[in-house]
Symmetry: C2
Subunit: 316 residues, 2 copies
């Protein structure tokens, strides 16, 4: 059965039945807007610590640009839904927060199989369930020429735990989680379900008080460090020998491959031991130097090269 | 100049400069997620009245489905951006609330002119400015075959002012703002800047305490009444003679034309006079009857017909 047979309203009916329910979701899908209880009512007890910020992020994937539909791959639509939500969760993690509610907009060619859409939602729901995210809305529209998926994710962070890109200072160490270049070495179009978002580690880092700036690595390691440098008005020096390169990946793939959802962050030197005692699995790859927004790579022979810090540009 | 020349990062630079700034926007565009101050801190003073809900809605428009690009029309892209945000504002209004923050995702063919994108944002910004909405994020992606725009809008509503679709009861009057069928009689593809969102009227209605259910009319008058009936588990009877039909429009266009952003709501009979005293410009078009979810139209000869209450389905 394809979409043109069951139609938009049939689809909304199917999707509505699959929705989880958080205690703070007052109205989910089905009215003009979703309604969420704002749980920020602890001012009397502990004015500073309990006061939270609301976080919002959005990320879109377009057929032919970010992915091609792999007809022989039965996991494809599951992975696509999974990855679309994962990219957003990773953004919330990089702020030091945790996700709460998501809206999923699908642009669907009318010939799309209903089973494919169910798989896509199964991928979204698998991650949503794991991280206790409610799907509270979205839009389902026809898109005759290319499938697209656009997810908006809400989250929360305690004020004291908020981590921006802009806090790095000269002398801070540049650290990462995980390994780099694996997705691009393996040519994963939609690596999707192969990855986790680093929510747990990000929360530990945020609560540690040791981290001065954080970003996720979805645009690639070097561009992510470049974004911290730009926002913090600093430079970076990284050591080739210290970069955790994924098995089978080249250095260039580790630096620019992207499509991975690791954390890149800066730490005050005297706080590193404290982080290590907490058994958070991180690697130091470089240090913040000076105020010139450039990234230098010290290679394995000790030679210094300047690194390009631009991300991949889909319009060029 | 087209997009493939300035690129994604150039575009983000252009857009970032145009952002307004609300006092509760802590971080707008430029980090992994936007950060918003949750202003719900009045529990000590007035525990019930000051406690708000967060509202979230999203709406997408796709080229070839919701609009065709009118090359000769210099206002086209302005109107498109305006309409994309208007549709979302109308949804927040229909909940009794007011909008606060928006995220705008654009899917753009690389040959799109930069001037067109600036016009599109000018349309979004014109409305955002009028209603004090901050554009705090979004995503700009390539979409080779069709332009699309997907906006997510946040808003707030005091708990006591929240209006759902589900509160209509037998005996309540069915009321509307404005006139119907004009957009479809004039074949506006993107009527955009010709319309306003009924935020002010919606807020007056919500605060009046007289309204039991509300929805916006973007899917058409009859389908909107149908949604109230479905959610409230009631039936409706409407009078042809009472429907405010736009000049030049036929009854069928008034009932099913859609693409208008009026309010459709139900009011307890004994509250109608109080509303009229407040000089809110509304028309009574029918009444809530029984518990069978059907809409009957009483025509000008007194004959009763059953009305289809389905909206337009883009997949069929």
């Amino acid at each position: 059965m394809d979409l043109s047979q069951i139609g938009e309203f049939g689809l909304i009916g199917i999707l509505k039945d699959k929705i989880a329910k958080r205690a703070d979701t007052v109205v989910g899908i089905g009215d003009d807007a979703a309604v969420i209880e704002i749980r920020n009512n602890y001012k009397m007890l502990n004015p500073k610590n309990k006061t939270k910020y609301l976080l919002v992020t959005t990320d879109a994937l377009v057929e032919g640009v970010h992915f091609r539909i792999e007809k022989g791959n039965k996991q494809f639509f599951f992975n696509l839904g999974y990855k679309a939500l994962l990219a957003n969760i990773s953004d919330i993690a990089a702020m030091g927060g945790y996700p709460t509610h998501a809206l999923a907009t699908l642009g669907l060619p009318p010939k799309t199989k209903v089973e494919s859409i169910e798989q896509l939602y199964a991928g979204i729901n698998a991650l949503a369930k794991r991280y206790k995210i409610d799907i509270i809305g979205g839009d389902t529209v026809a898109s005759p020429k290319a499938l697209f998926i656009s997810i908006t994710l809400l989250g929360e962070v305690e004020k004291k735990n908020l981590l921006l890109r802009s806090g790095a200072k000269t002398g801070h160490l540049i650290c990462v989680t995980g390994r780099f270049g694996g997705a691009s070495a393996k040519k994963y179009a939609i690596g999707g379900a192969r990855y986790s978002a680093r929510i747990r580690t990000a929360r530990l880092l945020a609560k540690s008080g040791a981290v001065s700036a954080m970003i996720d690595s979805s645009d690639g390691l070097a561009p992510s460090i470049g974004e911290i440098c730009k926002a913090s008005k600093v430079g970076a020096r990284i050591w080739e020998a210290k970069i955790p390169i994924a098995k089978g990946a080249a250095l260039s793939q580790a630096l620019y491959g992207g499509e991975e959802y690791e954390l890149v962050f800066t730490v005050q030197k005297n706080q590193l031991e404290a982080l290590k005692r907490k058994k958070i699995d991180i690697a130091v790859v470089g240090e913040v130097v000076g105020t010139k927004k450039e990234i230098k790579l010290v290679d394995n022979e000790g030679k210094i090269k300047e690194l390009k810090s631009d991300g991949f540009d889909h319009f060029k």
